[in-house]
C-alpha cells in the first residue's frame, strides 16, 4: 500500500442507550492509501457505517461518542481537532455520500442550491461562479442538460439521478477522500453498475481516495484495491482484494464466501454461517465470532491476536488458515 492518506488506529465508538452502553466500534484499525479504494465489508450492525460516521464526527448526538483511538488525516487527529476545523474538512477535504439517495437530499431546496451551498461554503466563489461550477459537476456525473436540472427539486429525479447529485455535491470541492456508505444498496442492479463505474472513473479524474462501505463482495471485487472485513465492531481481516479472495484466512471471511452462489458452480445448497450476529450488549469474552465459528476452541475465549497471514494480509484469529 502507498503511504496512507487516512489511518484509523484503535477506534472505539460507543452509544449510550436505554439498554446500556453499545460498543459499536471496538478498536478498529484501518488504513486508506493515497488514490486507492478501500472496501469495508460486513453484515448489518458490524460497525462499518459507524466507523465512517466517526471519521467526520457525524455520529448521532448526544448518544454517540468516540471513546478512544485516533483518526489520522494529513497529520491531524480528526478525533481531537476543533469543531470549526472538522467543519472545514467536511465536504471539502473529506466528503461523504449515503445509502439512501431518496432521503439524503433536502426536499425543499433545488439540487442546484444544494450543490452551490457546499461550493460557496468552501471555495471562494460568487453566486454566478458557483452556479456554473454546480452545472459543470452535474455534467461530470452524467446528468444530461445540467444547467436546466439545477432548478429541479429532488422529488423530480429518480433514485439513481439523486445519487449522482449526491456524488456531484460530494466531489464539488475536489476532496482528497470520498466516504461512500453503501452508495448502491438502495438502487437497482443496472443503476448500481453505472454508479460504481462513475465513482471509479471520477476517483481517477479527481485523484482522490475512496472509503467504500458495502455488504456486497461483488462490489468490492469490482472497484476496490484493498478490503477490510469487520465483525462486531472489529476489523477481523484485511488484505489486498485478490489475496483475500484467493486465500481468505478468518473463518468469518471463509463463511462469507461460502454463503455466496458461484457462477458455473456445481450447484447444491449454499452454506450459510450458522447463528446471527451477537448482540453488542453482551459479547462473549475473546473472539466475538466464536459461537458461530466452525473451528472454535477453548483459547478463542481470549482476545485473539492480529497476525500476518500473507503479504500485506492481516487476520485477527488464533488459527488463521489452519
Amino acid at each position: 500500500m502507498s503511504a496512507p492518506v487516512l489511518e484509523i488506529k484503535g477506534l472505539k465508538t460507543q452509544f449510550q442507550t436505554r439498554q446500556g452502553l453499545v460498543k459499536a466500534v471496538d478498536g478498529a484499525d484501518l488504513a486508506l492509501g493515497h488514490r486507492e479504494t478501500l472496501g469495508v465489508v460486513g453484515e448489518s450492525g458490524c460497525g462499518k457505517s459507524v466507523t465512517a460516521l466517526s471519521i467526520l464526527r457525524l455520529l448521532p448526538q448526544p448518544a454517540g461518542r468516540i471513546a478512544g483511538g485516533r483518526i489520522i488525516f494529513n497529520d491531524r487527529d480528526l478525533v481531537r481537532v476543533s469543531r470549526a476545523e472538522i467543519r472545514r474538512i467536511r465536504g471539502n477535504e473529506i466528503s461523504m455520500i449515503f445509502q439512501e439517495p431518496m432521503t439524503s437530499l433536502n426536499p425543499v431546496y433545488t439540487v442546484g442550491f444544494q450543490i452551490q451551498e457546499v461550493i460557496r461554503k468552501h471555495r471562494q466563489m460568487n453566486k454566478g461562479e458557483a452556479r456554473t461550477e454546480a452545472a459543470r459537476m452535474l455534467g461530470l456525473v452524467g446528468i444530461p442538460e445540467p444547467r436546466a436540472r439545477l432548478n429541479d427539486y429532488p422529488h423530480q429525479m429518480s433514485g439513481g439521478m439523486r445519487q449522482r447529485v449526491m456524488i456531484a455535491m460530494a466531489l464539488s470541492c475536489h476532496p482528497q477522500i470520498m466516504i461512500a456508505d453503501e452508495p448502491t444498496t438502495a438502487l437497482d442492479v443496472t443503476i448500481q453498475a453505472q454508479i460504481l463505474d462513475l465513482i471509479g472513473r471520477l476517483k481517477e479524474e479527481i485523484g482522490m481516495s475512496v472509503f467504500l462501505i458495502t455488504h456486497d463482495l461483488g462490489v468490492v471485487a469490482e472497484i476496490c484495491r484493498h478490503v477490510a472485513v469487520m465483525y462486531a465492531g472489529k476489523v477481523v481481516e484485511s488484505a489486498e482484494v485478490r489475496e483475500l479472495f484467493a486465500h481468505p484466512a478468518h473463518p468469518y471471511t471463509v463463511g462469507l464466501f461460502e454463503s455466496l452462489p458461484k457462477i458455473g458452480g456445481r450447484g447444491g445448497a449454499l452454506r450459510p454461517i450458522p447463528g446471527v450476529v451477537p448482540g453488542l450488549f453482551n459479547l462473549p469474552p475473546g473472539c466475538a465470532f466464536q459461537e458461530r465459528c466452525f473451528k472454535a476452541e477453548p483459547r478463542c475465549r481470549q482476545e485473539p491476536p492480529l497476525r500476518a497471514a500473507g503479504a500485506d494480509h492481516m487476520v485477527r484469529c488464533w488459527l488463521p488458515g489452519e
Binding site: 457525524l58 467536511r90 465536504g91 449515503f98 439524503s104 437530499l105 451551498e117 457546499v118 427539486y153 422529488h155
Partner: protein, 336 residues
C-alpha cells in the same frame, strides 16, 4: 406558484361563501316565528310588520328572498342593528379592525416565542430548557384565559402599575383613522408617543390571548423539529461542513414548518372569532364581544353579518395557509 392554482382556489372560495350565505339566509327563516316579528320585537304594530315583510320580501318565495338577500350583501348592506339603529356593516367594520389588531399582535407574540422555544427545546432535547419550556407550555394550554387576564391586570396594572389595564389608547390621544389599526395609524401620523401608548395598551391583552397558541406552537414546533433533525438530509447538511445554525435554521426548520403553519392558521381563525373573554376582560372594543352582545340582544342582522364575516376570514386564512404550503414545500406544487 401557478396562477391557475390561485384562481381555482379563489373560485372555490367563492363557492364556499355562497354556501355560507345560504346557511346564514336560512338561519333567520329556521328560527320559529315570524322574522319580521323577531326583527321588530313583540310590541310592533301590524302595519309596521306588514311594511317590513314587504321590504324584506318575506311575502315572496324563498329563492326570490335569497336573491334579494344576496343582492343587498353584495351592495354591502348587512341590514340595520335593532339595538343601535346603525348599519351593521359600519358597526362590524370598526370592531373587526380592533379584533384584527389584537389577534395579529397575539399571533406575532405566539409565533415568535413559540417557534424559538420549540426549536431550542428540540435541539437541546432533555435539557433543563426543554423540560422547563414544555412544562410552561403545558401550563399555558391548561390555564383559564380569564384567570390569566385578571392576574396580569392585577400584577402589572394594579399592584405594579406599569401597563394600562383597558382600552386601546389613553384618553386624549387620538390618531386619524386610516387603517383602523391604532398602532399603525399613530405610526403613519408620526405620533410616536401615541404609538407607544397604543402598544402599551395592546401588550396585556395580546399576551393573554397569545398564551394558548404560543404553548401549542411551541409543542408542535418541538415535535416537528425532533422528527426533522433525524432525517438523512440534515446529516447530509452537516457532512457538507455547514455550521450548526445553518443546518438547523435553513435545513431543518424549513422542513419542520408545515405542521406549524397549519396550527398557526387554525389558531388565527380561533383568535379572530373567539377572543370574547380577553376582549371582555380588557374592555377591548372587538368583534367577539359584539357577537355576544348581539346574541344576547337578539340582534339578528348583526349576528348574521358577523357569521358571514367570520366565514370569509376563515376561508381566507385557509387559502393563505394552503398557499404557504405550496411556497414551503415544492413537493405539493406538483399536485397543486
Amino acid at each position: 406558484m401557478p396562477l391557475s392554482y390561485i384562481s381555482r382556489r379563489l373560485f372555490h372560495l367563492l363557492l364556499i361563501l355562497l354556501g355560507v350565505s345560504v346557511l346564514v339566509f336560512l338561519m333567520l327563516r329556521m328560527i320559529p316565528g315570524d322574522p319580521a316579528q323577531l326583527l321588530l320585537g313583540e310590541y310592533a304594530r301590524p302595519e309596521e310588520l306588514a311594511r317590513l315583510r314587504t321590504q324584506l320580501g318575506l311575502d315572496r318565495s324563498y329563492p326570490i328572498q335569497y336573491g334579494i338577500y344576496l343582492q343587498s350583501i353584495l351592495r354591502g348592506d348587512f341590514g340595520t342593528s335593532v339595538r343601535t339603529g346603525a348599519p351593521v356593516v359600519d358597526e362590524i367594520g370598526v370592531r373587526l379592525l380592533a379584533t384584527i389588531e389584537l389577534s395579529l399582535a397575539a399571533m406575532f407574540i405566539a409565533t415568535l416565542l413559540g417557534i424559538v422555544a420549540g426549536v431550542i427545546s428540540a435541539v437541546k432535547q432533555y435539557s433543563v430548557f426543554d423540560y422547563g419550556s414544555m412544562f410552561l407550555a403545558l401550563i399555558g394550554v391548561s390555564m383559564p384565559i380569564f384567570w390569566l387576564g385578571l392576574m396580569l391586570i392585577y400584577l402589572l396594572a394594579v399592584k405594579f402599575p406599569i401597563l394600562p389595564m383597558m382600552g386601546r389608547i389613553s384618553m386624549g390621544l387620538e390618531a386619524p383613522a386610516v387603517t383602523g389599526l391604532v398602532v399603525v395609524d399613530t405610526l403613519i401620523a408620526g405620533q410616536l408617543g401615541a404609538c407607544g401608548d397604543a402598544l402599551r395598551h395592546l401588550l396585556l391583552p395580546a399576551c393573554t390571548l397569545a398564551t394558548i397558541p404560543m404553548a401549542i406552537v411551541a409543542r408542535i414546533t418541538r415535535s416537528s423539529m425532533l422528527e426533522v433533525l433525524n432525517q438523512d438530509y440534515v446529516r447530509t447538511a452537516r457532512a457538507k461542513g455547514l455550521g450548526e445554525a445553518v443546518v438547523i435554521l435553513r435545513h431543518a426548520l424549513r422542513n419542520a414548518f408545515l405542521p406549524v403553519v397549519t396550527v398557526l392558521g387554525l389558531n388565527l381563525g380561533l383568535l379572530l372569532g373567539g377572543a370574547v373573554l380577553t376582549e371582555t376582560i380588557f374592555s377591548w372594543p372587538g368583534l367577539g364581544r359584539y357577537v355576544v352582545d348581539s346574541l344576547m340582544g337578539r340582534d339578528y342582522a348583526a349576528v348574521q353579518g358577523c357569521i358571514l364575516i367570520f366565514a370569509v376570514l376563515m376561508a381566507l386564512i385557509n387559502l393563505i395557509v394552503d398557499l404557504l404550503y405550496v411556497l414551503l414545500d415544492p413537493r405539493i406544487r406538483v399536485h397543486a
